[in-house]
Structure formats: structure tokens, C-alpha cells
């Protein structure tokens, strides 16, 4: 009897193990399939235009004859918006994480944590709409520029979306730093600030880098809000106060029009490949940062 129960337990364990193994394999296979699909549809564009002309061409006129498929302005738009959002979100995000994990106590900590999680739950289209109604007119009148639909508005709005990701992951990283590090620093006579700045933050640095990278990943993939408030002008911007068009917004705005199997259709998939590669590298860096810590 005892033996049988034991083997049933073992069987269950083995089954669970197999399930986990299977779901892990499935997700890898799915990612591979997605990439194969993207590649199959996207690489067709390179039969019409060269790889260099696609990546470095500076005009995007997909439906003209002859059509121009240069995504440099779109990449410039995506990078500018992402850079702006990162510059805003990273200091705020890390500072909030430090405050929540090291300074705030009890009730305030709980309120802040759930508040930030709530912020992450707001759909981006809602944030985009709020941005259109409040942020865009404000940017226009404050900076005296022709229109408020700019990369800057997009960056501010995206910072809102990246901050919760950065805060919650950075906070986990800070919490994972053994208490004795901080206690030792305090015992040696450092102030609380010195302990946080010189000991806790460096100890959690790899986790914080991962948090920042995941935040950037969220920003670069964001579509709806940027489409609504960055103005969608496909030109290479020379200031952050100009309208830009991002890679994601281009796909979203134009996929309705494309004739299946046309160059335009393939070009949108090729943009998908570029985005996939960018996010892949961001995730890779985040992953390397995490493993660096494990060693």
C-alpha cells in the first residue's frame, strides 16, 4: 500500500515535470515559428529593393509609384522616442524602487506598490487618449512649437508606461540583496544614504539593468499611444520637439491598406523583423545582466 502511494506520487511528479518541459519547448517552438513566418513574408521585399536601401533609405512612400521603402526615418523616430522615454523613466523608476524598498515603511510601501501596479494596468490606448487631450496642447503652448504632436509628447507618455515595469523589477532586485550587506555597512558607520548608494545599489545592479532593459523593451514595442500622439511624420527629426513616426505605428497604421502579397505588405513584415531583432537584443542584454549576477 505504502509502495503504491509512493509510486503514484512519483508518477504525478514525473507528469508535472513533463508538462513543464513541454510548455517550455512549446514556447521556444512558437517563437521560432513566429520568426520563420516573419522571415518568410518579410524577406520577399529584398527581392525588390536592396537590404541597404531598406535600412538606410530616408524616404517612406509605400504606396507611390515607384514606391520608396526606406525605414531610416522610422527607426530614427522609434529610437528618439525610446531614448527620451528612457531618460525620463529610468531615474524616476529607480528612485521610486529605492524609496519603496529601502525607505518607505509599512502602509506607505503597500499603497505605493499597488498604486504602481495599477498604473501598469491602464491600457495604452487610454493613456494615448489622455495624452492627446492634455499633454499635446500643453506641449504646444509651453514650448511655442507649431504642433504638440511630437516625439517629446510620445516620450513623456511612454515614460508613464515604462516606469511601473522598471519600478517593480528593480524593487525585486533591491529586495533580493541580503540584509547583512546593508547591516554591515551601517555597522561600519556609514549613513543610510551611503549604505544605499555604495552598497545596496551596486549589489542589485544587474537586476536593475534587467529592469531598465525590460522597460525599454516595453517602450519600443508600444504602438497605440505613440500612434496617437507623435504625429506620424516619416522624416528624420533634428529635435525632440518634432513629429516622428515609429516602426510600430507604421505597421499598425498601414496594415489595413496593404494588398496581400504586394511590396508594401512585405515591407511591413520586414519592419516586423527589424523590431523582432531589436527586442531580441534588448532581452539578450537583460538576460546577460541577470546571469552576470548569478556568477
Amino acid at each position: 500500500m505504502l509502495k503504491r502511494r509512493w509510486s503514484a506520487k512519483r508518477l504525478k511528479e514525473a507528469a508535472i515535470e513533463k508538462c513543464i518541459y513541454l510548455s517550455g519547448i512549446t514556447s521556444i517552438v512558437l517563437v521560432a515559428l513566429i520568426f520563420i513566418f516573419l522571415a518568410k513574408e518579410g524577406f520577399a521585399i529584398f527581392r525588390t529593393i536592396g537590404f541597404g536601401d531598406f535600412l538606410l533609405g530616408s524616404s517612406w512612400y509605400p504606396i507611390s509609384t515607384p514606391a520608396k521603402f526606406g525605414i531610416l526615418p522610422l527607426m530614427a523616430g522609434s529610437l528618439l522616442v525610446t531614448l527620451g522615454a528612457t531618460l525620463i523613466a529610468v531615474p524616476i523608476g529607480i528612485a521610486s524602487a529605492v524609496y519603496i524598498s529601502e525607505v518607505a515603511s509599512g502602509k506607505i510601501k503597500e499603497i505605493l506598490k499597488s498604486g504602481i501596479e495599477l498604473l501598469a494596468a491602464i491600457p495604452s490606448v487610454v493613456l494615448g487618449f489622455i495624452g492627446m487631450m492634455t499633454l499635446v496642447p500643453w506641449v504646444k503652448s509651453t514650448f511655442h512649437i507649431p504642433t504638440g504632436l511630437t516625439a517629446f509628447s510620445g516620450a513623456v507618455m511612454l515614460a508613464f508606461m515604462a516606469t511601473p515595469t522598471i519600478v517593480s523589477i528593480a524593487e525585486d532586485a533591491l529586495n533580493a540583496v541580503p540584509r547583512r550587506y546593508k547591516e554591515a555597512a551601517l555597522a561600519l558607520g556609514s549613513t543610510r544614504w551611503q549604505a544605499i548608494w555604495r552598497v545596496v545599489l551596486p549589489a542589485a545592479s544587474s537586476g536593475i539593468v534587467a529592469a531598465v532593459m525590460l522597460g525599454i523593451g516595453r517602450v519600443i514595442g508600444e504602438t497605440m499611444a505613440v500612434m496617437m500622439i507623435t504625429g506620424n511624420a516619416a522624416r528624420i527629426p533634428d529635435s525632440i520637439f518634432q513629429p516622428v513616426r515609429t516602426l510600430t505605428a507604421t505597421i499598425a497604421a498601414e496594415m489595413g491598406e496593404t494588398v496581400r502579397g504586394s511590396d508594401h505588405y512585405f515591407a511591413l513584415f520586414a519592419i516586423g523583423i527589424v523590431l523582432f531583432i531589436i527586442t531580441f537584443f534588448i532581452n539578450l542584454i537583460a538576460d546577460l545582466a541577470v546571469h552576470h549576477k548569478a556568477k
Binding site: Y61, S64, P73, K140, P146, A234, P243, E257, R260, G261
Partner: protein, 283 residues
Amino acid sequence: MRKFQWFIVVILSVLGASSGLATGNSIQIKGSDTMVNLGQAWAEAYMGKHPDAFVAVTGGGSGTGIAALLSGTCDIAESSRSIKKEEINQAKAKGITPTEFIVGLDGLAVVVNPANPVSQLTIDQLADIFAGKIKNWKEVGGRDLSIVLLSREVNSGTHVYFKEHVLRKGDAKSTVEFAPEALLMSSSQAIADEISQNTGAIGYYGMGYVNQTQKAVAVAKDNAGPYYTPTLDNVVSGQYYISRPLIFYTNGQPQGALKDIIDFVFSPEGQQIVKDTDFVPVK
């Protein structure tokens, strides 16, 4: 086991209900953003007369509508541009015959903020403004203020029409493009909203969208004038230069309920609705 039976019953009834809908009088109309309000008005009037019929109207742009017709997800595609050669080829490959009905006309209004002193422009000036050659309002008799260009997205028939007939002045060989600085807006409403709060902006859309918070400029073919505003009379007489047909595409000659609704659109009542939604009737 009981639970399982219950589940089957639910599934079957859902399937039954949905197949009932599909074989009933449900008609899907999809496409041109310019025509979505017009289509909605027709649908409401038609459903008022035929309580058993159900007509659903969605926008998304002319290209979206035609794509939906080709993939069989709508019965009528609304379009503010003619169907393209590639689209016809694609339709043929799928055994679909797009059939065209011109259901109305639209004057394409060029709009600015009411506070903008500029109230008339020639086609040449418009072409230069939207191609980015004229960058400041003072070059066309306005204030010293930079011009903010607003355009529709490339999935819009209005975008294509404006480029072909204003920027390129109907010349098929021309390669003039919208200036890369032009802001591509996702809907006519988005352009209207931006125009009403931006004194430097200029945009274009179907005349049905113009209200008191925007000003439609009068347009002339050349410097000699005369200048015409996009009104019903000027579009009917052909004096307002930037006008275009509004089109329904169906798959083959419409039958049954579909024919019924197209007959309604061409009836005096249907054409009155065209007029009521600020477009121009064809009959």
C-alpha cells in the same frame, strides 16, 4: 456527465444562433472613413423600414474596405477611390468580381483654423504647401507662422485622391509626394480636432466633416480665379475643383437583401440622406 450534457446544449445553441444570423438579413458594410457617417445614416433608415434586417457599418479606410471585400468579410465595401489594378487581379484570383456603384459625390474641403486670415488658395499654392515648398503662411498672404501639414494615412482613399488630383494635378507621370513633414492622422475627425485648436494647421477631408470650428478655404484652378468653396451647388456644377465619387463595391451583381439596400440607396429617400449628411446626391 450531466455537466457535460449541459455543455453540449450550450455549444449547440450558440452554433445555432450564429448560423441563424449568418443566413438571416445581416449585411456588413466596411471601408471609407469619409463615408462611414453616410453609411450609418443609410443603415439606420433602412433598418427602420425593415425591422428584420441588420446592417452593420464600420470605417477603417477605403483600402481596408476593399481588402475586406476580397477576403469575404464584408458584403459592401465603401470606397472614396477607384479600385486599383492589383486589387482587381487579386479579386480575380479569388473568384470575386468587384462591381461598382457610384452612390454620391464628395467635395474635398481644404480646411484651416477660423483664426487664420487666409481664406482662398489656388491649386498650385495647395500643391506647393502640401509638397513642403511653401512652409510659412506669409508666403500665401497670411501671418508669419509656420504651416503644419495634416494629411490622412496612406490607407485612406482621400489621401490617394488628394495626392493624385492636387499635388500631382492629375498628371499620371508626376512623382510629387506629400512633404515628409506632413503629420499622418488616423481619421478625418483627428484632423478636424487638430485644425480646431491649431492656428497654423492645414488639412483636408470630405466636406461633410466641416463645422464651425474649421474654415473651408475657397479654391481656384489658377491665379485668375474665380475661387469656389466646397458647397453642394459648386460640386454638382463641377465648379469646385476637388471633388470625387463615393463608391460602393459588391461582389458581382447584388441579389436579395443586398440588392434591396442598394435600391434604397438610389431611391429619393436614400439620396436625400446623402444631402442631409452634407454630401452630394447623384440622382
